[in-house]
């Protein structure tokens, strides 16, 4: 009925735009689906218990990714352990303590700048700042990742701090609590959801990172305990994928790692969505 009133020009505009939109959505959906299915199909058959539980051996000419899995776990733990207090502290300063708008603006601008810097530059600076002094090791890689993930933790914590009602703080102050006591007992418990979300996002980012680790953490495949591991060079899963695919042509192993990374990415996205939903629900109660 409405369509009959439209001129041909308007009708063809409608059709064209609708067509282009549907095409684009279909393309995006198909791409995602293809990547997911292709990587899983190519990778899963190559995942064997032997691959997961051994280290590469020249004697038996076999490849195992246990050291890479351990290295990834170590680097994730070490990075989170360092970045959490720094990021949460910075967020608390911004929302609770800072009074000077210029300082706030400067810190926020710096955080935005940090999140825009590409990982290859972090890798290079990490090499100059850390690896050149403490040697190429997981700890150097981890410190580099701390700088990279600082803005993420800061942002998510800040967002959740903003949702802590002002009246809670005023109430606590009214009862005679000092600033630090208010922060400790009222503000900190309120930012748990932001911290958890930040952690999940950071873990995702660390798992996927390679360029920043190549020159800071190196690429050795030795099985170590956590403390020795952090002091020694080592490849994470992504770096191992790169080396196996690009330098050694071991595509089977590369796809096995890619499939593991893909499953982890799906799980992390799922967890992030779940946490957000859970806390949104609790907040509305």
């Amino acid at each position: 009925m409405l369509n009959q009133a439209l001129s041909n020009k308007r009708k063809s505009f409608e059709l064209l735009m609708k067509g282009l939109m549907l095409l684009s959505v279909a393309l995006t959906a198909a791409l995602t689906l293809f990547l997911l299915v292709y990587v899983l199909l190519q990778g899963i058959p190559n995942i064997t218990w032997e691959l997961l539980s051994t280290k590469p051996s020249y004697l038996t000419e076999s490849i195992g990714i246990l050291p890479d899995i351990l290295n990834t776990v170590y680097i994730v733990l070490a990075t989170l352990l360092i970045v959490l207090p720094l990021g949460v502290g910075a967020a608390i300063y911004l929302t609770e303590y800072a009074t000077n708008r210029k300082v706030v603006g400067m810190i926020e601008y710096a955080a935005e700048t940090l999140s825009g810097i590409p990982s290859i530059i972090y890798g290079l600076v990490g090499m100059l700042l850390f690896s050149n002094h403490m040697g190429t090791c997981l700890m150097a890689g981890s410190l580099t990742l701390v700088i990279m993930n600082l803005p993420t933790i800061m942002r998510t914590t800040q967002e959740s701090l903003k949702t802590v009602p002002q009246s809670y703080r005023e109430g606590a102050f009214g009862l005679g609590a000092g600033k630090w006591r208010v922060v400790r007992t009222v503000v900190l418990p309120g930012c748990v959801d932001g911290v958890i979300t930040g952690c999940i996002l950071s873990v995702g980012r660390i798992l996927g990172e390679s360029a920043a680790l190549l020159f800071t953490a190196g690429f050795a495949h030795a099985v170590n305990g956590m403390m020795d591991g952090l002091a020694a060079p080592g490849a994470t899963l992504t770096v191992a994928l790169y080396v196996y695919a690009k330098e050694q042509g071991e595509f089977g192993v590369a796809f096995a790692i890619a499939a593991i990374l893909m499953v982890l990415t799906v799980l992390i996205n799922f967890a992030a969505a779940l946490v957000q939903k859970y806390f949104a629900k609790r907040r509305s109660l």
Binding site: S24, T28, Y97, L124
Partner: protein, 288 residues
């Protein structure tokens, strides 16, 4: 009482230090890059370095011209934007305005997944699907080329563009659209002629963010672009980007060669800072 006040002050100071860490990091990164990037530029000469057409760092008479890398990065990013922005933009309009809540939520998780996939996985799939595909389809000797890199980059910037554009489009006041509909425009006309112009700062920011992502990507490009320091004369040429120029020689470089790599990183950093400033400009306008 005094003790308490002292403690409060100390804690305030501690938080201030934590707050200033980001500023310190930015300064540290800038200073380190400038200090380590300047010596090689001084020795090679700024003009020869930036506009030299030949990079032969390991030759007996080494040449350090990075024009091929700069042009490749610019062409590669432009290509990725030309493909990625229309697709991302159209997807964003559909998701924000037309899609049912269910489709929107499924597609948004798909986009998040796309954003979460690590660049080496993109590189790996690119190596086996795109590079081989280009070799067969266009009948060229090697598929590792500028074209392969452009396609991978276009896919990699898609999620940033979609996410940011959807946010901007969702924020357009409903009244604008209602007014346009009441005047007799069809929904689609309204979305493209009223909502999109109203969200243009946000969409521009999305494009700039995409540019930043594309120009800074290293690993995926390293795996599909071939890495030969050619001038980017054709889409099928094996090329080296600014990012891959740094990473491909860093492992075994020393002396002037290594210093020149730091200078490349400095050039890349300046590009990124310029892009960040543009991004901030659009984001600020969007907020207003």
């Amino acid at each position: 009482m005094k003790k308490n006040q002292l403690m409060e002050k100390a804690i305030h100071g501690l938080f201030l230090v934590l707050g200033l860490i980001t500023v310190g990091c930015v300064l540290l990164i800038t200073v380190y890059l400038v200090i380590s990037g300047i010596p090689a530029i001084r020795e090679i000469g700024l003009i020869d370095f930036l506009f030299g057409k030949e990079w032969a760092s390991t030759a007996s008479e080494p040449k350090y011209g990075i024009l091929p890398f700069i042009l490749t990065s610019i062409y590669g990013t432009t290509g990725a934007i030309l493909i990625g922005v229309p697709v991302g933009f159209m997807t964003a309009v559909y998701l924000s305005k037309l899609a049912s809540p269910k489709v929107k939520s499924v597609m948004q998780s798909a986009v998040s997944l796309l954003a979460g996939i690590s660049s080496v996985v993109y590189g790996l799939v690119g190596m086996l699907v795109l590079v081989l595909g280009i070799r067969k389809f266009f009948d060229v000797p090697d598929g590792a080329s500028l074209l392969a890199a452009i396609i991978v980059l276009a896919i990699m910037i898609l999620p940033s563009i979609i996410k940011m554009s959807v946010t901007a489009l969702d924020a357009v006041p409903k009244e604008y659209e209602d007014a346009s509909l009441a005047l007799g425009a069809t929904p689609i006309e309204t979305y493209f002629k009223v909502s999109v112009p109203a969200a243009k700062s946000g969409i521009a920011a999305a494009v700039v963010l995409g540019v930043g992502r594309a120009i800074g990507e290293a690993m995926a490009v390293m795996m599909v672009a071939g890495n030969v320091p050619n001038m980017p004369d054709s889409l099928f040429q094996s090329v080296r980007f600014l990012t891959t120029a740094v990473s491909s020689e860093m492992a075994y470089s020393s002396g002037l060669q290594q210093q020149a790599l730091f200078s490349i990183a400095l050039v890349l950093f300046l590009f990124i800072m310029l892009i960040n400033a543009t991004l901030n400009f659009f984001l600020k306008r969007e907020k207003e």
